[in-house]
């Protein structure tokens, strides 16, 4: 038995194998490996960033160590891409097979489960231990692409209700504004609020590992399960460590993804003992403030509108030279749509 990497002609065999195991074949991945016996594909698996996916083993080879072979190859490729920790989204009945490879269960719900291998959550929590304070704390998770007056209103409101407010900024770098900028703007805009701590979500909230659909333009049928996993991971693993008793979010009327995510928070969080508070959006010029509107005005160079939509920190950044390239990219993207 040997592992070889795929080239084109074998893709259709892989698709067939993946689909025969009740999984969806997703054409986007960084790496796809297959295990062959006598020229026949008997197992395959893929990696997209730090997420392993489409791990499928032909019935004839289940019960062998095919999974160990595949995962070895994918872990090495993850390591060379800079990922110490890898995630796998799988069916709940496969949890044992992954635990036998030293994966740890992060969260499970219904028929799906999310596991990780590597320093992962333990390291994330340890590295944030000094920021954790006891009390009735609150949490907000934002992408902040970029930070708006809407985010600020939400943070100010929430900060008044809790002992400490953890403002988690989505770590995944797939938005127009890079993580470092989104994080810094969130910090600067809330620096007048002494009980607000800005944190990064790492892989543990609204990430490519927990909720890959968030980063797609349209939702697919896997989205509801991913949102359940994402919200439950927050409730079961993050909230207890950060003493989070309430999670806050802005009401969503425009974006169906965020609206659906809010509905799932409203359903799941209270059952886990976490209060969910949804605030109506504040408005400017008769319309709700949202980051999409901000990006549009930013691309148009409409400073007068931006002044009504974003805090001074964000406006300062938007006027700075590094922002010019981002505005240019937004304009290019718009032309392509």
């Amino acid at each position: 038995m040997g592992v070889i990497c795929f080239d084109r002609p074998e893709l259709s065999d892989a698709r067939q194998l993946v689909e025969s195991q009740g999984l969806r074949f997703e054409p986007h991945f960084d790496d796809l490996v297959g295990l062959f016996e006598m020229g026949q594909l008997v197992a395959c698996g893929a990696r997209s960033g730090y997420a392993l996916k489409m791990l499928a083993i032909a019935p004839s080879h289940q019960g062998t160590d095919a999974l160990g072979t595949l995962v070895t190859r994918l872990m090495l490729s993850a390591l060379s891409a800079g990922h110490d920790t890898v995630f796998v989204f799988t069916q709940a009945r496969n949890v044992g097979s992954f635990e036998a490879l030293n994966f740890r269960l992060l969260v499970t719900h219904g028929e799906v489960a999310l596991l990780e291998h590597g320093p992962g959550l333990k390291e994330y929590l340890a590295s944030h231990a000094s920021l954790i304070t006891e009390g009735q704390n609150g949490a907000i998770v934002i992408n902040g692409n970029p930070f708006t007056l809407g985010h600020l209103y939400l943070a100010e409101f929430a900060a008044r209700q809790v002992d400490r407010l953890y403002l988690f900024v989505v770590r995944e770098d797939v938005s127009v504004f890079p993580f470092a900028v989104r994080f810094r703007l969130a910090e600067e805009a809330t620096s007048h609020l002494p009980n607000v701590t800005v944190l990064d979500t790492s892989r543990y909230a609204v990430s490519a590992g927990t909720f890959p659909n968030y980063f797609l333009k349209r939702l697919d049928e896997a989205a509801p399960a991913q949102m359940q996993i994402d919200v439950r991971l927050f409730a079961e693993r993050l909230a207890p460590c950060f003493h989070v008793a309430s999670r806050f979010a802005g009401q969503e009327t425009l974006c169906p993804t965020t609206a659906a995510y809010n509905r799932i928070m409203a359903e799941v969080l209270p059952a886990q003992g976490i209060q969910f508070v949804e605030l109506p959006r504040i408005e400017a010029g008769g319309l709700p403030i949202c980051a999409t509107r901000v990006r549009r005005a930013f691309a148009d160079g409409d400073v007068a509108t931006l002044r009504d939509l974003v805090p001074p920190a964000t406006l300062r950044f938007m006027k700075s030279p590094p922002a010019h390239e981002l505005a240019e990219r937004l304009r290019t993207d718009r032309k392509e749509v």
Partner: protein, 87 residues
């Protein structure tokens, strides 16, 4: 021997282990094992002795073990360290 870069050795197959080593100011040995409850102390002892023989005093060593025998542990650790030292 000094750990100068990130390196790995081994596999995730049954009866083997995968080792990842990288530079660090202190010596940290992190062990995950399917037989952690029974044998973590023995695995750690073997790793510590190999590190001693190779004169490694700093670095982060992550081990994911699937019930490897002690000579396999020693060999994988040594291979990873030698790679990380640029040999």
């Amino acid at each position: 021997m000094q750990i100068k870069c990130k390196a790995s050795a081994g596999t995730m197959q049954s009866s083997d282990l995968m080792v990842v080593v990288e530079p660090s100011d202190t010596l940290q040995v992190e062990i995950e094992s399917t037989v952690k409850k029974q044998y973590e102390h023995l695995i750690r002892a073997r790793i510590t002795s190999v590190l001693g023989e190779l004169g490694v005093s700093a670095g982060r060593i992550q081990v994911s073990d699937r019930g490897a025998l002690d000579y396999a542990i020693a060999a994988r650790i040594e291979a990873a360290i030698r790679r990380a030292a640029g040999e």
